[in-house]
Amino acid sequence: MHVDVWHEVGERNVGRAGLLLIGLIVLLAIFAPVLTPYSPRENTSTQAFSRPSADHWLGTNDARQDIWTQLLYGARTSLSVGFGVALLSGFISVLVGGTAAIFGGLYDRFWMRIVDATIAIPDVVVIILVAAYLRPNVLLMILLLSALSWPGGARVIRAQTLTLKERMHVSAARTFGAGWSHLLFRHIVPDLAPVLVAIMIQDARRAVFMEAGLSFLGISDPSVMSWGKMMQYARVFTYLEVWKWWLLPTGLALSSTLIGLSFTGYALESALDPRLRDRDDHAEGGV
């Protein structure tokens, strides 16, 4: 039975809510300069710790910076790290998982050993160690997070490719002498697309979470604004009332991004899983 997975994600309430949230945050991040007259590091003329007002929607922080502006620019960092890791890590997953399945043999065994070993490594601690030595910036963060997140996807892609490999059109291409890269990117990846997107959404979600968590620990690019960093600064002032418009909105922005990603991912995964999607789902409009 042919299933239009993409269509189904949009049909489900979870999927719709997730896509809506992500869309909203992407728009806020793109149009940040239009939505605020300030820049994130600008020390405004308003006094420090002022309450939300027409000029400063979320008030100002201890350095007289506009919190709403910082929130908007923080979204840019979170989303670019998430997007970067999803692309890079997804690409490595396809490359390693796909070729391992196509070639098989010793090559396959070698990579699967590496995958098994890397999955067992606790990634936060590794990143903390590396970041303690190297100066963390956004690019390094994307590279590190990708290096630790591709193995999970590679395992799934490999399993899927093993079954796809036997399909008629792939065997046909093989008989005509197609090379592995042609097989992988022209014949297998298009069929893998929904699975790959599900993997990439999961990678992005973890990356956004990790970036925020690490900058909350103080491991972040000093030149960019990020939600984790804002929360780290705001946490010191919990004895004042400022947490209501400084700490909470920042945490909620981060949580909505994560929730948006996990809702979309969940809708996609349950559309893909034949055991979870069956007739009665449609009768009730899904979850």
Binding site: T238, L248, F263, V287
Partner: protein, 351 residues
């Protein structure tokens, strides 16, 4: 017998002419391959720990011990340490010295705490074990029960409400959940303590001490469980939905089993296996979660220690913690693999 990727294992075909000893040797070899993952992972971490400080430009001594430690260093002490780390010798010899020291339980010396790294870590470890252990058990149990109930009532209002709210909670990062709980229950309502694992210098003993510890544990534990309950819940719910369609459930129903028996004894039992596996896989994430939550609540566990050593640039301590955490994660995975053999007759049958 299939390997872990569901692919038939190629080995000698068991026929008339293959001696039993060969078959047994093959089984042993397969068992050995099972442990290789753990060895490889551990070696990767060891190498990272060894290479990273030595790749840094400048004095490797400074990279290994951190700038602050150098201030307190006398020339004699420095000479002694250089000899111990074999820093004046080749990379290969340095690696051998490093491994030898580790084998003897020497993880290095923390200048901030003025103690052996291992001693410092062991001081902080019990609190992390308490927090993580209870969080792991509670979230798994809660996930199982909620998943069974929810999967049984699939599509009805309770199922939908549970699914939506748990998915929503899962979106909160642990540290933000911790902050929210701290702000509302600690700052606004003042019902839980703001930091620490027990009241200092209170001189409490016996039951009062236990109550004090539990009181301090409550908020960090709640933060971890609320965020982490979703994955065992979703897994149980999914398994429940597939199992309820099986014939044996229909048999149970037709022979007049009560709803509770069908739910827990017949269908729910099948969820145990995937949930046990995922609990093992959750250990690394739980460590991450505990790390952040401990920092938010200034809970004196290994996570807080790691944060503190990051602030004080206590490199030997950071490396020691990384090694211990990796070891803990690998051990947990190994335990789950062994447990898996015990729970699932299909896996051990193949022997």
């Amino acid at each position: 017998m299939e390997d872990q990727y569901g692919r038939p294992l190629e080995g000698p075909k068991v026929g008339w002419d293959i001696p039993k000893a060969t078959v047994r040797a093959w089984a042993l070899l397969r068992r050995a391959a099972f442990f290789t993952n753990y060895v490889v992972a551990f070696l990767l971490i060891l190498t990272l720990n060894f290479v990273l400080p030595r790749l840094m430009p400048g004095d490797p001594f400074q990279a290994i011990y951190g700038q602050e430690a150098l201030l307190a260093m006398t020339p004699q002490l420095k000479a002694q340490l250089i000899e111990r780390l074999s820093l004046d010798q080749s990379m290969g010899q340095q690696f051998v010295a490093y491994i030898l020291a580790l084998v003897q339980g020497d993880l290095g010396y923390s200048y901030y705490y003025n103690q052996q790294v291992l001693t410092v870590i062991l001081d902080f470890l019990p609190w992390t074990l308490l927090l993580m252990g209870t969080a792991l058990v509670l979230s798994t149990l809660a996930g199982l029960v909620l998943g069974i109930e929810s999967g049984y009532r699939r599509g009805r209002s309770l199922d939908k409400a549970l699914l939506a709210s748990l998915m929503f909670l899962n979106g909160f990062p642990d540290f933000f959940m911790g902050i929210v709980l701290l702000l509302f229950f600690g700052v606004v309502f003042g019902v839980v303590p703001l930091s620490g694992a027990l009241t200092p210098y209170s001189g409490l003993e016996g039951l009062a001490l236990v109550r004090d510890i539990l009181h301090h544990l409550l908020a960090p534990l709640a933060a971890l469980v609320l965020v982490r309950v979703t994955s065992p819940y979703l897994l149980t719910r999914n398994t429940m939905i597939t199992t309820l369609r099986e014939n044996f459930v229909m048999t149970a129903r037709s022979k007049g089993c009560t709803e509770g028996q069908i739910k827990y004894r017949h269908a729910g039992r099948n969820s145990l296996l995937p949930v046990v596996t995922s609990t093992g896989l959750m250990v690394p994430q739980m460590i991450t979660g505990a790390l952040f939550v401990e920092i938010v609540f200034t809970y004196p566990g290994v996570g807080w220690l790691l944060y503190n050593s990051l602030l004080t640039r206590d490199y030997p301590l950071i490396q020691g913690i990384l090694l211990m955490v990796t070891l803990a994660v690998l051990l947990a995975n190994l335990l789950v693999d062994l447990l898996y053999l015990k729970i699932d007759p299909r896996v051990s049958d193949a022997r």
